[in-house]
Every structure is written in structure tokens, then in C-alpha cells.
């Protein structure tokens, strides 16, 4: 499919994306629930089971399965891997909420808010174990070589994610204020884009082609898509409806997260004393009035608009990579779904 053809199909793209996400989310959820032991301690597995059933988009398993389908592979053979991707994503969310002291996740209290940090950490670790058991079980479906390759890709992805998370936390701890867009993108590539888009797309393609290395353009497609997704997420944190968004509105401001909007603010010299003081405070020390002031300042100085513009530019860049990234793929609904994703991620409300 050419870029022009992809754009002509935009009218139906929204429906296609929602339908594909729903279909693949169902497949992954079913497999996830089968994977959770039925007879283990209820203090662990009941919480795991409940957490996995919270409403979610299922973007990551959908990208993996659609990539497999787009390259003509047997989607059924990729379900275990796609399920592992979603389990790992859930583990990252649990740990992320502990680290950020977030209150809400997927419309309900975050795990540590509901059960305490101890239970949350156990659930996060259980999700890692379940994910790697699924990846190891791939041997009977994909063979030892491809299984080993996917595990290597997984470890590489986890390393990137961990490094990205460390950078973000380190910036807050050190009150880093001399940051620019490039710093943000480096953190975003590692923290979000690799595991959310690059990795699921690559392993979906590898499964379909039995290990043929995808085009380098797929890295770029996944990277731009993931960056647009994360920036939109940061924007929704400021302007989204809590019921749809599912997370604490303004949570990033409370946490002092170095989003593109905050970096945009920090680049305006001189930095107001109030902002300087705000960033030096801990989350508990920050006031509602200060959070509202910063939010208002971001609106009035165009920081939110700027971030939205960046997300749009990155979505366009992803689409521009598509012809090369998917040159050897098949023209089918899975490919059309993948081509519709850049527009979807910057329009989404949840």
C-alpha cells in the first residue's frame, strides 16, 4: 500500500483501529487469564487477575499481532508472544505507579494505593515471571532459534525501558532544569517507544518471517509512533477527561515530570522564582494552587500546543516511513491498522 492509498482510507481508519484493538485485546486477555495459576495463593493471583482485567487499549499486543498478520504470518502462532508483551507492559505500569506514587491507573486506584507497596511489587514480579514463562513456551511453536531471538529482543527492550525509567526518575531527583527536546526524546525512546512500539512490531514481523530481519525503517516507524503516543499521553494528562484517560489528571505536574511541556517552560528565560521553587519541592510539599498556576502557564504560553504540534509532526514522520517499513508486507486489514495508528495515537482520548 502506498502512502497516498493509506491516506485515502483514513475515513474508515478510526473504526478499523478500534475493531482491531478490541479483537486482539480479547485474544491477549484470554491467554493472560489462562496463564495465571488457578491454584496459587489468592493474595497474589487474585490481584494479578483483577489487574489484568482492568479496561485497557491493548495497543502493544495488537501491534505485535498485526505486524505478524501484515507480513503474512500465522497470527495464532504469535498470540503467546503478544500476550507476554502485554504482561510485561502491565508489570511496567505497576512498578511505574509505585515509583511515581500515582493514585489512579485504568480508572481505578493504582495497586499500591489499593493494596500497599508490598503487594504491588509482588504483582509486578509475578507478571514478569508469567511473561517469561510464555516466551519460553514459544519453543514448541516457533522453534528454539526464533524463541531465543525473541528472548534476546525482550531483554534488550527491558534494558532500554529500565534505563529510560532511571533517566526520568533521576531528572526529578536531581531537579534537572537544563533540558531540551533532544534529552526528552532520548528518555522517551528508551522509556516508552522501544517497548510500546519498536519491540512489538519487530517481534511480530520476526515471527511471521521466521527470523528475517525487518527493514531498518520499521525501527523509525515504531520510534516516531511511540514518541507521538507518549507526547499525546502527556498532553492528555493535562487536558484529558479523567473517566476516559483513566489516570490522575495533572499527575505529571504533581510529580514534576520532565514532559515536553515542562521543558518548554524551562527553556523560557528567566525561569520564574515560583517555578524554580515548585520544582525543588517534593510531591507532598506542592500545593493545589501551584499546580493550577503551572497548568495555566503552560496553556497561556503555548506549551501544550507546542507538544501537540510535536506529536503531529512525529505521527507524520511515522507515516512517511511506512512505505519502506512495510515494503515487503501484505495489503490486508492488519497493514491498514498499522498505517492508521499514527493518526489514532494523536487523536485518542484514552
Amino acid at each position: 500500500m502506498t502512502l497516498d492509498e493509506a491516506r485515502r482510507t483514513e475515513v474508515d481508519a478510526g473504526d478499523l483501529v478500534e475493531a482491531t484493538l478490541s479483537r486482539y485485546r480479547t485474544l491477549a486477555l484470554e491467554r493472560m487469564l489462562e496463564t495465571v495459576p488457578a491454584d496459587g495463593p489468592r493474595y497474589l493471583y487474585d490481584v494479578v487477575r483483577d489487574y489484568l482485567q482492568r479496561p485497557a487499549k491493548g495497543m502493544r499486543p495488537a501491534l505485535c499481532l498485526a505486524a505478524c498478520g501484515a507480513w503474512g504470518g500465522d497470527v495464532g502462532a504469535a498470540v503467546g508472544t503478544a500476550t507476554a508483551v502485554e504482561l510485561l507492559h502491565n508489570a511496567f505500569l505497576v512498578f511505574d505507579d509505585v515509583q511515581d506514587e500515582s493514585e489512579l491507573r485504568r480508572g481505578s486506584p493504582s495497586l499500591q494505593s489499593e493494596y500497599g507497596v508490598g503487594v504491588a511489587l509482588n504483582v509486578g514480579n509475578a507478571l514478569y515471571v508469567l511473561a517469561f514463562e510464555l516466551l519460553r513456551a514459544n519453543r514448541s511453536v516457533l522453534g528454539p532459534t526464533l524463541t531465543e531471538r525473541i528472548i534476546r529482543e525482550t531483554l534488550q527492550m527491558m534494558r532500554h525501558t529500565l534505563e529510560g525509567q532511571a533517566i526520568e526518575i533521576g531528572w526529578i531527583r536531581d531537579n534537572a532544569s537544563n533540558l531540551d527536546a533532544e534529552d526528552y526524546y532520548r528518555m522517551c525512546l528508551k522509556k516508552t517507544s522501544w517497548y510500546s512500539c519498536i519491540y512489538p512490531l519487530r517481534i511480530g514481523s520476526l515471527i511471521a518471517t521466521r527470523g528475517v530481519e525487518p527493514s531498518p525503517a520499521l525501527y523509525r516507524f515504531g520510534w516516531y509512533l511511540g514518541a507521538a503516543f507518549q507526547i499525546r499521553d502527556d498532553v492528555l494528562n493535562l487536558i484529558g477527561e479523567t473517566e476516559l484517560y483513566g489516570k490522575e489528571r495533572g499527575g505529571d505536574l504533581w510529580e514534576g515530570k520532565r514532559t515536553l511541556m515542562l521543558i518548554h517552560q524551562l527553556q523560557r528565560r528567566p525561569t520564574p522564582a515560583r517555578l524554580d521553587r515548585y520544582l525543588r519541592q517534593t510531591r507532598a510539599e506542592r500545593s493545589v494552587a501551584d499546580v493550577r498556576w503551572l497548568h495555566s502557564r503552560m496553556e497561556s504560553m503555548g506549551s501544550i500546543e507546542y507538544a501537540g504540534g510535536c506529536a503531529g509532526t512525529l505521527a507524520d514522520a511515522a507515516l512517511a516511513e511506512a512505505p519502506a517499513a512495510f515494503a515487503s508486507a501484505t495489503d490486508n486489514d492488519d497493514l491498514r491498522f498499522l498505517l492508521a495508528m499514527p493518526e489514532y495515537v494523536i487523536q485518542r482520548q484514552r
Binding site: I167, Y185, L314, D316
Partner: protein, 143 residues
């Protein structure tokens, strides 16, 4: 927008200053239209990081006649993905040049190339023990 930054206040885990300095002037900017260019450069940096990571290993081998197993292991992990990308890049160029009747041969060659790259990386993983033993600097003997 372009600003200078001292090493003292550089953000933790940002790109190495020498690599950043040259590109800063082109990439730094707060215009939304620059986003893809800046982000594209970041990905290229990250994929090239495996090459930078290899330098300390080469230096240690040259100066101390020994290989640090952990150091090399990290390089191998990073280099593996870059090697596969390099093979894929060559594959892309070959496809541009060849007619359809040799495509299957090209595909087979590329699959073999990826296998060889994996084998090479696996052999590299075993290299520190062999090299250190040959050089008489086996880390175990010093413990």
C-alpha cells in the same frame, strides 16, 4: 534555540557530550516542526551506541592485554542488534539492484548472514576466557 551546557549541570544519562556537541546546534530547537529531525537523530545515536561501547574493550585489550568479560558481554548485547540492522541495510541495497529471479538467493544469503552474525556474537561471548587464558591473565587466578 541553541544553548551551551556545562558538563556540571548535564542531565544524568544524557548522550555523551562529545557526540551531543556537534549535533546540538542543528538539533536543538523548540519548534514542533523540528520534532522528527531531533527525534530521528536520537534514534540514530542510540543504534550507533554499540559502536561507542566497543571502544573501552579494545582499549583494555591493547593496554592491559586482557578482556573484561562483563564489559565485552555488554558490547556483544548491544552490537548484536546493530549487526542485524547492518545486514538488513545491505539487503535493502541488494534488493534495489537485483532482478526478481535472484531474489530467493538473496533472501537465503541474508538469512545466512544473520545466522553468521549470531554465531559470531556467541563466539565473542566465549572469547574473554580464551584470551585471558592465552595471555596468562585469567581473572580467576587473581581472585
Amino acid at each position: 534555540m541553541s544553548r551551551s551546557r556545562s558538563s556540571k549541570d548535564a542531565p544524568p544519562d544524557a548522550a555523551p557530550p562529545d557526540r551531543k556537541r556537534n549535533k546540538k546546534a542543528q538539533r536543538a530547537g523548540a519548534r514542533a516542526s523540528d520534532a522528527a529531525e531531533v527525534a530521528g537523530g536520537v534514534l540514530a545515536d542510540e543504534l550507533a551506541a554499540g559502536i561507542d561501547a566497543a571502544r573501552p574493550v579494545a582499549r583494555r585489550l591493547s593496554e592491559e592485554q586482557r578482556v573484561d568479560e562483563k564489559e565485552l558481554g555488554e558490547v556483544v548485547a548491544r552490537a548484536r542488534s546493530n549487526i542485524h540492522e547492518l545486514v538488513a541495510l545491505v539487503d535493502d541495497r541488494m534488493k534495489d539492484l537485483q532482478s526478481e529471479d535472484v531474489q530467493s538467493l538473496s533472501n537465503r544469503l541474508m538469512t545466512d548472514a544473520h545466522d553468521v552474525a549470531d554465531l559470531l556474537m556467541d563466539m565473542l561471548g566465549a572469547a574473554p576466557t580464551l584470551i585471558n587464558r592465552a595471555a596468562g591473565t585469567d581473572g580467576n587466578a587473581e581472585d
